[in-house]
Amino acid sequence: MSHKTVVVYGAATIGQELVQAVATAGCDVILIDHSEEMLKKGLDRVEAALDAEIARWGLTTGEKRAIMSRIKSSTQVNDAAKGWLVIETLKETLEVKRQLFKELDVICKPETILASNSATISITEISADCKHPQRTIAMHFQSPIAKVPLVEISRGLKTDEATFAAAVRFANMMHKTTISVYDCPGFVTTRIILPMINQAVKVLEEGIAPCEQIDTAMKLGFGLNAGPLSLADKIGIDTVVFYLENLYTETFDQSYLPAKLLKKLVRAGYKGVKSNRGFYRYGEDGLRIDNSGLKIEQLTQATAR
């Protein structure tokens, strides 16, 4: 075991991006997922993402080889013991995360830092069943991790100073700026962006403007990289709903009550980029198809079907 090795738990989108970013920063990293298939898919995606970077001149082929050589994968939870830091990127539900933390707490040495990438669940709650909660912390990396130079850190009520300091050092080593809060689900970014996405969906529902115009207005008007609907597609509409529900339970603030259309889309399996359809349609390459925004006049049919 090396003090340089980081473990990323969960091979879905955020896990892939995180593995790529950690290995690019020069650390050895083990990606763990119970599914062999997810691991293979995850590593393939990491490689594809690096190739895309090379095509955009962001990386050289030599650098890619070095990055890939730092990445290992495993289906064994026990391999989490090999890292000095374990970052969990599982589904945004309390039970799943709490169960994993309980397991990791036993497997890993007491000084190993256990971090959750959760955006909307209290880290204190996630680590409720841990014997050593002082080493748990929330580190919210935002997608696309390679590009977003920010990590939000949330200390649980039992998190100690050494754990917090190590998390900040790790984020800085990855050339990220950190902001920190005390046990606040939603941190700053998620807390503020969700009501905007929710309002954008309502503006669409009410027929005030079509998808493209809503996104264009917000992008150009406020200098955002992506409009709220396209952002929802990227985050995953199911994840947006999880986030909203978690924050509503946390705050009882009406602005976090999910817009009806969001839930309808999730039920229909229109989860955004990952399912090739959300507010827009996407090709197999994940690129948005032109003029594919959900049409307001088809909404009733599309959602009723």
């Binding site: 090396s2 020069g26 001149w57 962001g58 050289t60």
Partner: protein, 400 residues
């Protein structure tokens, strides 16, 4: 007196121990992958002893330097009985801004100045400084000297170092041409004076340093008048992977068209350009010269662009110097590429250069000498550079 020379990069440490009583190398080597998994330390006794490679964890520069001290004083290849034999440590420091025109003894103020220059060389000055601090911690009493890459070019006049952009950038942020490879340009110039049998202050020289980075320098009476690298080492000649001179509007155009981020554009210009970018074969000139000129059209094009840019600078610097006694070729490609030297000096007889084709072919692999015909008005000298030696000599001077 024994002097240790250190060149601390972001993930490497080059070192050489000199015995200055007879100017010989006692030991030298390189640590790679500092701060990463799988670090290696190599060590050789003497200038050309057998290289030994050790694998060990080198987590930071201090641990690396400690390892160097350990190898120098213990084991079968030890060259020192104790560290107290080392009289001083000389460091290569990349950027000294406009504060240093000479090598200096390091004190708190110098350290602060090196740290102030981090903004000019964010990749180089921090590890340089870490090296200084590590030695401070291990041998608190030892004298340390900073030898700057930029210092030699501080003799440039404003017309050579001011960019034609709003003057505020110079006044407020010290944005100007600094130039690099100063230690190498200075060394080969003084060596050329010896070979030419004339005092340096009577000579007009153009020195061409072609390594991983490439730069040309116009030297009048031993003083740098102009140099091709600028505020950063990206300007000037086309290099292995760096673009060198470029229409600045292209940067804006390409970033906009391909929606590139600043870091992607930075990579494009620094790592994907130069002869690698043109040839798409290699950044190493040797790969392009292999089977020249039959390798491929693109390999030839890359070599021609590379050489043409050198020719242009030589011509320009002849005008800046109002004459030229000799052109000096140094560093990896300069010392070892008769092909590049041949392309550059084809059709330059009007400027007084007549290459001796045979001498050009045989002067490489560490050979030193004139490669022009006896009637050539301007001489062409190949001189292997030795930056470590200059750093050791400067160190001796600064501590005496």
């Amino acid at each position: 007196m024994k002097v240790l020379v250190l060149n601390c990069g972001s993930s490497s440490i080059k070192y050489q121990l000199f015995d200055m009583t007879n100017t010989t190398v006692m030991a030298k080597g390189l640590i790679q992958r500092v701060g990463m998994a799988g670090s290696t330390v190599d060590y050789r006794k003497g200038d050309d002893g057998k290289k030994k490679v050790y694998e060990c964890d080198v987590l930071d520069h201090k641990i690396g330097i400690q390892k160097i001290f350990e190898l120098l004083t213990s084991g079968e290849d030890a060259v020192l009985k104790s560290l107290e034999e080392i009289g001083a440590v000389g460091h290569r420091i990349v950027h000294g801004g406009d504060k240093f025109s000479n090598s200096v003894l390091i004190d708190a103020e110098v350290k602060k100045a090196i740290s102030d220059c981090i903004v000019f060389a964010p990749l180089h000055n921090p590890p340089n400084l870490k090296g200084v601090e590590a030695v401070d911690e291990i041998l608190p009493k030892i004298k340390q000297v900073a030898v700057f890459d930029t210092a030699f070019h501080q003799t440039m006049k404003p017309e050579a170092y001011i960019y034609a952009i709003p003057y505020m950038f110079y006044e407020k942020h010290r944005i100007r041409r600094y130039g690099f490879h100063g230690t190498s340009h200075r060394y080969v110039a003084s060596r050329a004076a010896k070979l030419l049998g004339k005092p340096l202050n009577e000579l007009k020289l153009i020195t061409v340093h072609l390594g991983n980075g490439c730069s040309v320098c116009a030297i009048d009476k031993g003083r740098s008048l102009d140099t091709s690298m600028g505020h950063t080492p990206l300007e000037g000649l086309a290099m292995g992977t760096r673009c060198g001179d470029l229409d600045p509007a292209l940067i804006l155009h390409i970033m906009k068209q391909y929606e590139l981020t600043i870091s992607e554009m930075d990579n494009l210009l620094n790592k994907h350009s130069g002869v690698l970018g043109i040839s798409q074969i290699s950044s190493d000139l040797r790969d392009l010269e292999d089977d020249w000129p039959n390798k491929s059209e693109r390999a030839n094009l890359a070599l021609n662009v590379y050489s043409h840019r050198i020719k242009k600078y030589i011509g320009a610097y002849m005008a800046v110097l109002d004459g030229c006694d000799a052109v000096i070729w140094t560093a990896g490609v300069g010392e070892n590429s008769p092909i590049v030297r041949g392309i550059v000096h084809g059709e330059m007889s009007w400027l007084g250069i007549k290459l001796d084709l045979e001498k050009n072919e045989v002067t490489w692999r560490g050979a030193e000498g004139d490669i022009t015909t006896p009637d050539s008005k301007v001489k062409e000298l190949v001189i292997p550079t030795n930056e470590e030696l200059v750093i050791a000599q400067d160190t001796m001077e600064c501590i005496s």
